[in-house]
Symmetry: C2
Subunit: 449 residues, 2 copies
């Protein structure tokens, strides 16, 4: 662990090695502005910049980049600016640098307790794309729907399957998520008769997303070997999904209202520089080999060893509720504090993801589609081997047929009102962690009609 004069608890996700970017505000200074997390503190980058402390050549020429309520301008500057900012911040916060450490007045303006800040979306997200890049996940879903022999669709090993998501409903961790109503088919009548109801199959999807830095022009693809230069950093993503709505609506154009009611992201964007020590290669892609526009050098380290976890924290009053009967109504007092004990229901890792983010970028832009700074690309549900390896309840409960048991004795096939889904993730270094913090959201009951 790099030594900082800012206190960093031993198990903190935010040692000096990390320096993730986010956007925050405080009660006394409610204008959202960029900051970096360090230990239990936040360094106010707008104030750091105004104090003249970002004096390198690139950021001197872009001396407005942090005077904004989103990080898009900084994202657009690209690696030279990011490298300079990181070098400057590493120095300012290192144990033996006195300029901030020894100036009590300056320090108290620039360094704020993380417990007192409110986090916002880190970027204005122009477009959000979700992929389906985990082979374990696609295989399990495929077995469920088509049997083991035809688990993977014919295209799956040839291209990173993806679809356009909804940018307007992306919310930052901590935002409550209302159970959606939608069209579902309950019975087995033929032809099917839908009804309009609160989803009884609300699920989480554990994903990792990347924010785009510099974009590309319309008509100009990003080659896979240049794709990493376009990645500003990574966040955790919970792609909330209503399985019953999805099942009925998705043919033939894909998921729509089953996904567009909310997508939660963790507030701190962890950079490729911070993750570099944890880079690893993706699983081999040799049967079949990808087409040349998707081909990476064998062993190229484009995945990361990020330990990912999902816990469900029931509301304090939901103990013992069963999901039988479906719907959200049975979870008791969803308005109460979510103070039950969290139970870990998923343990996964980004390292086994089949299609890499550079491949997703190359595929996304292969026909000329422009990416813009602040666009979000998410991995799709990340599942892996192991007893808790399923990255969503659909898979963990095998389509709702094998409930998971929580620590309070209750069972879940899908989420109940009042449940809080807590995702977290970190890389384990020698004696330190580089982490993402949490991506959490509590399920509110469906709105009254």
């Amino acid at each position: 662990m790099l030594a900082s004069w800012v206190p960093v608890p031993a198990d903190s996700h935010f040692p000096l090695n990390n320096l993730p970017y986010g956007v925050f505000s405080t009660a006394t200074s409610p204008l959202p502005r960029p900051g970096v997390a360090i230990g239990d503190s936040v360094l106010d980058l707008a104030a750091v910049q105004r104090a003249g402390l970002l004096s390198g050549p690139v950021l001197s020429a872009a001396n407005n980049c942090f005077q904004q309520p989103v990080l898009n301008a900084f994202m657009a500057l690209g690696r030279p600016a990011w490298a300079e900012a990181r070098a400057t911040l590493l120095r300012l916060l290192s144990a033996d640098e006195g300029v901030l450490r020894d100036d009590v007045a300056l320090r108290s303006r620039l360094l704020l307790p993380r417990s007192e800040v409110r986090m916002h979306l880190p970027a204005a997200i122009g477009d959000y794309t979700d992929f389906y890049a985990s082979r374990e996940h696609a295989t399990n879903i495929g077995i469920m729907f088509r049997g083991r022999e035809n688990a993977l669709q014919p295209n799956w090993l040839h291209l990173p399957v993806g679809y356009h998501g909804r940018a307007s409903s992306i919310v930052v961790s901590g935002t409550d998520v209302r159970r959606p109503r939608g069209q579902v088919v309950r019975g087995t009548a033929q032809p099917p008769v839908p009804s309009f109801e609160a989803s009884a199959a609300l699920d989480y999807e554990l994903e990792v997303g990347c924010f785009i830095g510099p974009g590309n022009e319309l008509g100009c693809p990003i080659p896979v070997e240049r794709a990493a230069e376009h990645i500003f950093g990574y966040v955790l993503v919970n792609d909330w999904s209503a399985r019953d709505i999805q099942r009925w609506e998705y043919v033939p154009l894909g998921p729509f209202t089953s996904k567009n009611f909310a997508t939660s992201i963790s507030p701190w964007i962890v950079t490729p520089d911070a993750l570099e020590p944890f880079a690893c290669s993706a699983p081999p892609q040799d049967d079949p080999q990808p087409l040349p526009y998707l081909r990476q050098r064998p062993g190229e380290r484009t995945n990361y060893d990020i330990q990912l976890e999902v816990a469900i924290q029931p509301s304090s009053s939901s103990s013992g509720c069963s999901t039988e009967g479906g719907g959200g109504g049975s979870a008791g007092d969803a308005g109460g504090e979510s103070s039950g004990q969290p139970t870990v229901v998923t343990r996964s890792n980004l390292r086994t993801m089949y299609w890499t983010l550079p491949q997703m970028i190359a595929h996304h832009t292969a026909g000329g589609c422009p990416l813009r700074p602040g666009d979000l690309l998410a991995s799709g549900t990340l599942s892996c081997e192991g007893p808790l390896g399923a990255g969503c309840l659909q898979e963990a409960t095998w389509g709702g047929s094998r409930p998971v048991r929580l620590g309070d004795g209750s069972e879940r096939t899908f989420l109940l009102d009042g449940d809080t889904v807590v995702m977290s993730g970190y890389c384990q270094g020698e004696g330190y962690r580089v982490g993402f913090g949490e991506c959490r959201g509590m399920v509110l009951p469906a709105a009254e009609l």
Copy 2:
């Protein structure tokens, strides 16, 4: 036709009755700003506002709404502002109003020849959604893939099927569109073996889109009976589609790179007020009736009688080329002027669209998805009865099996490099038209690798 002191040619799409909004710039004043089209002229709304001529109470309080390079701020203001702006503009431009007509200096600053302006995207489009709302189109595509008995998917008559499109690749009419490369499967080998090639099945889709005015909060659906209040106005949409790429990629999450390389829109947004005389009811929805959240009053006039047309204009040198052999390479000099004669290949109408735009809005937001000012919702391919009723080549050529013949004797299954697709649309009043102008785009050859 309402009489204006601005000359309006007899067949103009832009008489005083219309007053569509767009964003333009000029060579001498290159900052994009809002304007309205009238005859062969454009009235500069930023200049009108600065001249103090928008003096009604709503716009006086929003006196910056046209001092911007996009219409989002004006869109967000809602119907009271739109009604006031229209009333003011109808008066300023009416034949017997002298304030502009008689002030040569003022008039020459505010009123510009349309031939001298360059049009831009009228809004910053946060999210773009494409539907599939024409029963004729869905039926024909269904027959092609599944036969007459199973033409419509089971969900089609119950909900307006839609998917999220790509906002970043929406371009304004006149922008050339590069033929995309992508993964396609050429042979019939099993399992299929894809290759990465220029699309040989590039298509247009004739659609009408609506721009959203005031949006809704996350978690707060827009009821169908309030949806019309959220519609700022309408444009023509060409949802360019690469059918060979689409066929391979779309299972199970829908179209992605087959659509995200470009979507063209016409530059002038025609308002509900201008279209009101041409409002008509949609086809009956009684077998089955939609669920209550989608139900409109019988006979409610939520469609419009808009005559729509698509023409293909080959490049001057492509005469006689056949599409045999696929790809774009055979079209000759795609860099030359597109001076061949246009041939009308589609004649359709918005009036027969099955799912209405208010229903699309109600369905889109039913689970709580927020719409924002400037979002674009498109109808999906608009087909209707009649010999030229197919709204795309996929349908017109029955999957590429029955080429259409152009006026120069050449045939098309799909588009060739150098082809310009010209969409237009208007409502026919007694002695005047309220029109959309054109949505055009020329196909450029795929980029060199």
